[in-house]
Amino acid sequence: MAAVDDIPSTALPGKVLGPTSRFAPGAGTHIFEGNVVSSLMGRVTIIPPAKAPGPAKRLNKITAPTVEELATITVSRHGSKHEILPDVDNIVLARVVRLMPRQAIVVIQQVGETVLQTEWQGVIRVQDVRATEKDKVKIYESFKPGDIVRAQVISLGDQANYYLSTASNELGVIMAISEAGNDMVPVSWKEYKDAETGISEPRKVAKPS
């Protein structure tokens, strides 16, 4: 990390971190009057350009090299909870709250590895449950309220809902409770089984990782 002697280790919103000629703005920063400026309170991290200047080390990389790669400055609060918003392509964990004939309403609990403090509502439409034989999918044979589902964000959706999809082998129900109130284990791609009563229930099962 060269030439970063004048960069402070911590920043508050409004703190000038460096000129845009030398740095690229990362998370927790913005640009104002030609400078990268902190927009959060936290510690400053400088991420060197992915491709180190000088002789290229990896010649097998086919990306088009930019004219000039800059170190990225980010500001983040270490060790404390930081809220993030679900974004398109994120893998989320959500709890099913309500079933409707054409869609299931869920509440997103975790985005990536971040456990959320606030709850965002999502919807899994019937056509987004499975990748194949979409016309045969029935919502009530795929989910039950209380299930925990691994899903992918496909759209930021409307004012209230994020649109989610479970149309992939790895996606679907990962935790389920039976009618009798016991934990269940997945037995096939479309069934969970209550180990105590031996009764199976249909679900869109996520392939156990």
């Binding site: 911590t10 508050l12 919103p13 913005h30 927009s39 959060l40 918003l85 409307d158 004012q159 209230a160």
Partner: protein, 282 residues
């Protein structure tokens, strides 16, 4: 109309104590005209909130008041209520409330007009600092509770000139809310801070003087006052509240605003020191 959801007490009229003697001798301003009171700031006082801060403004020597105390909690980003229309950016809502024991007169639980006024000023002050488009279709609630106000002067209440106190309260609200927003990790272009300046009559009939961070109980009379919400790194004002009788001299108004900005710079330095400490710690 009694609020049946609270304990209302006796049906008859109760009155606050009426004292035999006049007010205690009021303290005189012992600070320099350009001095502001010391401030103590602490973040994270309400761990279950997204962000929070507590601000205490040091009491004056010999004053009855024990200084101003405010807490602020920030909740967000959170999902908007189902009924809310789509918003491509973060929706800010502010709420300022005095605790019933914060002022000389006991205040009720319902928000009164001065509290609504403060909420609106605070909203404008913060909106100019917030980078709202970073957080689409989400909301943030900023709630300031005034635990202890400045006001310690009977005549102020009787004459209904509480508004001077409101200026100081607003300055504190802005500063504490900015700290709580920073604690919550919500993007802002700058750490906004509040500052107040006032024009008071000079001693022994001399020319009026301008003072920073005026405590109304320390002055016989306040001619005009100004509260700004100021972005120190950008040199921008996000909210300006000026009132009182100033001559039409534009210079005087400009001066008063400049003094208020000066006061906010002072408070900004104090706040920055506490926040940097918090940033290092966590």
């Amino acid at each position: 109309m009694a609020d049946r959801r609270r304990v209302n007490g006796p049906g008859g009229i109760t009155v606050p104590p009426i004292y035999e003697a006049e007010d205690l001798p009021l303290p005189d301003r012992s600070r320099q005209p350009n001095g502001i009171r010391a401030q103590y700031l602490k973040t994270g006082v309400t761990p279950s909130a997204s962000g929070s801060a507590y601000l205490e403004i040091e009491p004056q020597n010999g004053s009855v008041s024990k200084g101003m105390k405010l807490t602020c909690t920030v909740h967000g980003p959170r999902s908007l209520p189902r009924s809310a229309p789509f918003s491509p950016h973060m929706v800010l809502s502010t709420h300022v409330k005095f605790a019933p024991f914060a002022t000389r007169q006991r205040r009720g639980y319902l928000r009164d007009s001065s509290e609504r006024d403060l909420s609106t000023h605070l909203e404008t002050a913060l909106r100019g600092a917030l980078i709202a488009d970073r957080w689409p279709k989400s909301g943030v609630d900023v709630i300031v509770t005034i635990i202890e106000g400045d006001q310690a002067r009977q005549v102020a209440v009787e004459q209904g000139i509480e508004e001077w106190d409101m200026m100081n309260v607003l300055g504190g609200c802005i500063t504490v809310a900015a700290a709580a927003l920073a604690d919550a990790g919500i993007d802002c272009v700058d750490t906004v801070s509040g500052g107040v300046a006032a024009l008071v009559p000079g001693k022994d009939g001399e020319e009026p003087v301008m003072v920073l961070d005026p405590v109304p109980s320390e002055h016989e009379e306040i001619l005009a006052a100004c509260c700004v919400a100021y972005l120190p790194s950008r040199d921008e004002i996000t909210n300006l509240w000026l009132k009182g009788s100033l001559s039409s001299d534009a210079n005087l108004q400009r001066m008063l605003i400049a003094r208020a900005v000066h006061a906010s710079k002072g408070s900004s330095q104090a706040v920055a020191a506490s926040l940097t400490e918090a940033a290092l710690a966590g």
